[in-house]
């Protein structure tokens, strides 16, 4: 890749938690490095699909309030996915209201102002050209806790610049009529320590909701509301963790492991979110209610096939 510094974004405002992400990194759990990667995988894939890019290309992920980016260089095309409110501020001060799932032209000195994600957490920005980024172990995904990945393991900060490898790609102004489905129940499979919990706790787990707390980030989501009584032991011998595990520490409040989770933990595992629902969990905002519904392994596998098929169908509807 030629590192020309003619085409770049200047970060006028970094936003709350803006990072580079891709499909994540594999086979490093045993040395303590989690998978990372985009939190809402479907919206991530769609951002690349709309620009006819490799679906595993690097994008900018933002949470709540996104970045304000000023562009310098030859024209590019951008797409934003998620429930996102944003504007393109043209060089002549004309303001174009942003529409997610639609390709926009961005020219020299135009600004992209990503104001907020609406009732959700994460959104994605992909560009027709290629961000110039460093990989760590085969992935550019930034893990800010471990300081691993592109941008020196840091989130995007005010006043920095992001360089772009520009090959003058021609992109058609595609668009997609897509509405993110409403989040209802989060489906789970019982996990290895399910029977550490009292009958009452099991009932509560499946029949009452929990509140998503502010202690929620790319590592995990802490819930509260109904303490789950443990009748065996609130510590297990430390063992591996995976994305989607619901752990319950001694205070009885569940924690869901997300993309940047610690790879080893010593709290009992009550349940595991099914793969088909990872994107939905990631988009739950603090303060919202989460309700768990039990499904069997067979059902979870079927639901995941359905999820893949849906994604494929949505991509085929790109105009």
């Amino acid at each position: 890749m030629t590192i020309s510094k003619n085409n770049f974004f200047k970060i006028e405002r970094g936003g709350i938690n803006t990072t580079f992400q891709d499909g994540g990194r594999k086979n490093l759990s045993h040395i303590g490095i989690p998978i990372s990667g985009a939190m809402d995988i479907r919206n991530y894939i769609l951002s690349n699909a709309l620009l006819k890019k490799n679906l595993n290309s690097a994008v900018i992920e933002f949470a709540y309030q996104g970045p304000l980016l000023k562009y310098y260089g030859d024209k590019i095309f951008v797409v934003i996915t998620g429930n996102v409110k944003f504007q393109i501020i043209k060089n002549n001060n004309e303001i174009i209201e942003g529409e997610p799932y639609k390709v926009f032209l961005v020219q020299n000195h135009d600004q992209i102002d990503i104001q907020s994600t609406n009732k959700t957490v994460y959104g994605y920005l992909s560009i027709s050209e290629t961000f110039i980024l460093n990989e760590s172990w085969g992935s550019i995904s930034t893990n800010t806790k471990a300081k691993i990945g592109s941008n020196n393991g840091e989130k995007l900060n005010n006043d920095q610049q992001i360089y772009i490898d520009h090959t003058n790609k021609n992109v058609s102004l595609t668009k997609l009529n897509f509405i993110n489905s409403k989040i209802e129940n989060i489906r789970v499979i019982k996990a290895t320590n399910f029977d550490y919990f009292s009958k009452k706790a099991k009932d509560i787990f499946f029949n009452r909701g929990f509140k998503v707390t502010k202690l929620t980030d790319r590592m995990g989501m802490r819930l509260e509301g109904n303490n789950l009584e443990n009748i065996v032991s609130s510590n297990i011998k430390s063992e591996g963790l995976i994305k989607g595990v619901v752990q319950v520490p001694s205070d009885g409040n569940p924690i869901i492991m997300l993309a940047d989770h610690g790879t080893i933990g010593g709290y009992p595992k009550i349940a595991n979110v099914i793969s088909a629902d990872f994107d939905k969990v990631a988009q739950l905002t603090p303060g919202s209610l989460i309700k768990f519904k039990e499904v069997s392994l067979k059902e979870a596998e079927r639901l995941f096939q359905l999820y893949l098929l849906e994604t494929k169908n949505i991509i085929s509807q790109i105009l």
Partner: protein
């Protein structure tokens, strides 16, 4: 050797090697881990070995639980040549600004901190696993007189290089992180090097670790 195999969620196989923590059980876990890793099985995306469990994650769009379970059950475990289990020497300074939990340890274990250190440094430790944060080694077994529970309220930030004790184990915080282990000292070495992507870890599962006590001056010299 695996006592029970079950699913963890819809994208991982949970291999249970038993309840106790021993080198024998752990070396079985490591044997399975290495055999699966070296075979590059289709769809496997992560392996998480620990004291007595092995979690095998897979890509649900490429394979599924019953297929991966069968692969593991049918796996011929090749015995590796006796590994040259290396001894890694780790210098540790236990002076005042590093021994964050000296007082708590003295009070809870009813032992003078100097005596505790004498017992601690007089032993080699075995690396059972690495993880939680990148490259953190879980080492054992501590002398019975040094076994203590985690802090009631974990620290939000444990300094990089801290040496912690809990139950029969000790560990090294490879970078600043939240944590609840009892801190006795600090090493000036970089135990995890993220810029060395082929061998990022100074200490690997199966290695032995010998801690050597150093003073503040020696610490500062190494740190330079």
């Amino acid at each position: 050797m695996i006592k029970n195999i079950s699913n963890l969620g819809d994208a991982a196989v949970y291999c249970d090697f038993g309840e106790e923590v021993s080198k024998e059980i752990n070396s079985n876990v490591i044997k399975y881990f290495e055999n699966i890793r070296d075979r590059n099985l289709k769809g496997i995306t992560n392996l998480a070995p620990s004291y007595n469990k092995l979690i095998v994650s897979y890509d649900l769009s490429l394979t599924n639980y019953s297929k991966v379970k069968k692969l593991i059950e049918k796996l011929e475990i090749k015995e590796k040549k006796e590994k040259d289990s290396k001894i890694v020497e780790i210098p540790v300074c236990c002076e005042n600004n590093f021994n964050l939990d000296a007082k708590r340890l003295e009070e809870t274990l009813n032992i003078k901190f100097e005596k505790l250190l004498e017992i601690f440094f007089n032993k080699e430790y075995f690396c059972y696993m690495t993880g939680f944060i990148a490259g953190m080694p879980f080492l054992g077994d501590l002398n019975k007189k040094l076994r203590i529970k985690r802090l009631v309220t974990p620290r939000v930030k444990v300094p990089k290089g801290s040496i912690g004790l809990t139950e029969q184990f000790c560990n090294i915080y490879t970078y600043e992180s939240p944590g609840g282990w009892n801190i006795i000292g600090n090493t000036p070495l970089d135990v995890f090097d993220k810029d060395n992507q082929t061998r990022p870890m100074l200490i690997n599962p199966g290695d032995k670790v010998k801690f050597n006590r150093i003073n503040q001056e020696e610490y500062d010299n190494i740190k330079k």
